[in-house]
Symmetry: C2
Subunit: 343 residues, 2 copies
């Protein structure tokens, strides 16, 4: 690739016999420059195919108009939707997105965050990885005066802006739906309890039992079943119990619920008649499985939007000290075939 000399404001200035400051002012719509000169500058800039060097501009201005995003996986439906939501809201305000993925690895997450600090981003939006529970790198973000917004998977102990789902309530409603539907022995496939979201979902599950005065059966709770394979394994274990469950809440994801369906099908157990199945996240496939899976929609795109708006809101907020704001989005139970016992 050959090196190309790009036109700068000096080139424009030289061509017109004026100073770069005037060019800069014209380009920034300052009213300190004569209308005629401005037009001339604009025309010349266009002729010379001038493009502002954002690096230089940002360096001088001490801001980058860039938002950094760190997610466990870019190519996971939930996250890519959140990103799309952020993108929609920030693009029109002239912000750029730098996206990193942590691959669920704590070390890579730290690396990502550091890179973003180096880049002088104006804000870092993060959903922490499952691995690790040391948050020094996030504290560091704050110390560098960079706005930090956590979403979905958040480190509770850090006082930052947060956008979360009300997992507890969603889980409560989901399990209530199962109980009201006539299911008696409801199993739970739970996720890593070091992540608050999974802890909350379990709490919702427990609260539903209490609300309906149904005793909790500990042997129906399976730890760490957050992939399709682990979900399937957990299901096999549950269904082979002397007293197997008549419903399973795959609280980790629809993928896990898919594992439940497959095992049930392999064992000749009918869903939803003999076994109710409930997932989480409303993945696109959940409505086309047979039977379709009752699940919980997290409004991921809207969540991204909310994150972006929160950032802009705080930007205008000139208070010396911003108090940590937490926005909770209420997920929605999507009732489908997999939990319709009585049909």
């Amino acid at each position: 690739m050959k090196k190309v000399k790009r036109t700068t404001i000096y080139d424009i200035a030289a061509k017109l016999g004026i100073t770069a400051s005037s060019v800069s002012r014209a380009l920034n719509n300052s009213n300190q420059v004569n209308e005629k000169t401005r037009e001339l500058i604009m025309k010349t800039a266009d002729e010379l195919n001038y493009k502002r060097n954002t690096l230089a501009s940002n360096l001088r201005k001490g801001q980058s108009k860039t938002i950094g995003i760190v997610v466990p996986r870019i190519n996971q439906n939930f996250f890519s939707n959140v990103i799309a939501g952020i993108e929609e809201a920030t693009y029109q305000k002239g912000y750029n997105l730098i996206i990193c993925q942590s691959n669920e690895l704590h070390d890579k997450e730290i690396q990502c965050v550091n890179t973003l600090i180096n880049q002088h981003v104006d804000c870092i939006v993060i959903s922490v990885s499952a691995d690790g529970n040391d948050y020094q790198h996030l504290q560091n973000v704050i110390d560098h005066g960079i706005q930090l917004i956590q979403f979905d998977r958040v480190a509770d102990e850090l006082e930052t802006l947060k956008v979360i789902n009300d997992n507890e309530q969603a889980s409560f409603e989901a399990v209530s739906h199962l109980i009201e539907g006539g299911y008696k022995r409801i199993g739970l496939l739970e996720g890593p309890q070091n992540l608050a979201i999974f802890k909350q979902r379990k709490l919702g599950y427990l609260r539903a039992f209490k609300a309906y005065n149904v005793p909790v059966i500990d042997e129906l709770i399976v730890e760490n079943a957050w992939t399709k394979e682990l979900g399937a394994a957990g299901t096999r274990k549950l269904l082979n119990l002397p007293h197997p469950p008549d419903a399973i809440f795959a609280s980790t994801s629809d993928f896990s619920a898919l594992g439940v369906l497959e095992v049930a099908s392999a064992m000749g157990i009918k869903v939803p008649a003999e076994l109710g199945v409930l997932g989480y996240a409303n993945e696109s496939f959940s409505e086309i499985t047979s039977p379709s899976i009752t699940t919980i929609d997290q409004f991921s795109f809207y969540m991204g939007n909310t994150v972006a708006n929160l950032f802009f809101q705080e930007l205008e907020n000139t208070d010396t000290k911003t108090k940590p704001k937490i926005i909770s989005i209420k997920p929605e139970l999507i009732i489908r075939a997999s939990t319709s016992k009585n049909k």
Copy 2:
């Protein structure tokens, strides 16, 4: 958010009573600095929580170690996988990704590209939007000395690096599979023909007919059926013909194929016995529909990897003029239940 003064190399230099140049060199592992001073500098940098200002560094060096990506939609499986593939390969070399989405709109695509040029990215990776066929903005990228790599949906007329799928061959093999499976009247749901990928898929379809000496029946070809809804509509039209097809190749996507399945189911037509169905892209849901959908895998993650490697390869290539290189990835036919007529 309070303004924070970040430590610079000058702060480190001042504290140690040396010059910023030495600090810079130490930080960049230059061998022009004494081992003891280096250690001292490193220690102090750490103590002061120093983070390099990438903006300043890049401005000075005239490169940004950043790659810009423009895709129609971030939250589409294929694209987010390609991005993940690019990310994997570039991250370890210290590159950052700036991601934009064009939303399939030509104007927004132009805006995105211009933003990336402003950002002085080292490379722009793009899959063009369906809308529009003017590529001045891409020519502009080249004129600015920025490496341009097109993937999947490419503007043929522009001589750039390209990473594409061999759509024609994949399509040929897919249709051959149908013919060999005993299907006689194979319908085609085609995409917008201004995109080369869809044109190629149609060519593959036609070539298969020629290869097996089967006459092409024009009325079985439906234009512009590239969403689930349009696919369903096209299917309805096809199945209501006096002589309906006994197989449908949804060449645009699995979503379209899903539309086919639904219409067939609604009309009581059995898949695959009475109607073979073939999709494209190997979306995650395609293996869990009933019946599961025979489709074509595009190796999207690998494609992203390839794009990244191509970039690095060209980076080392010091030839004055790089010739346009085209890498074609051979997609793979994934045979599933929806095309097994004889079972």
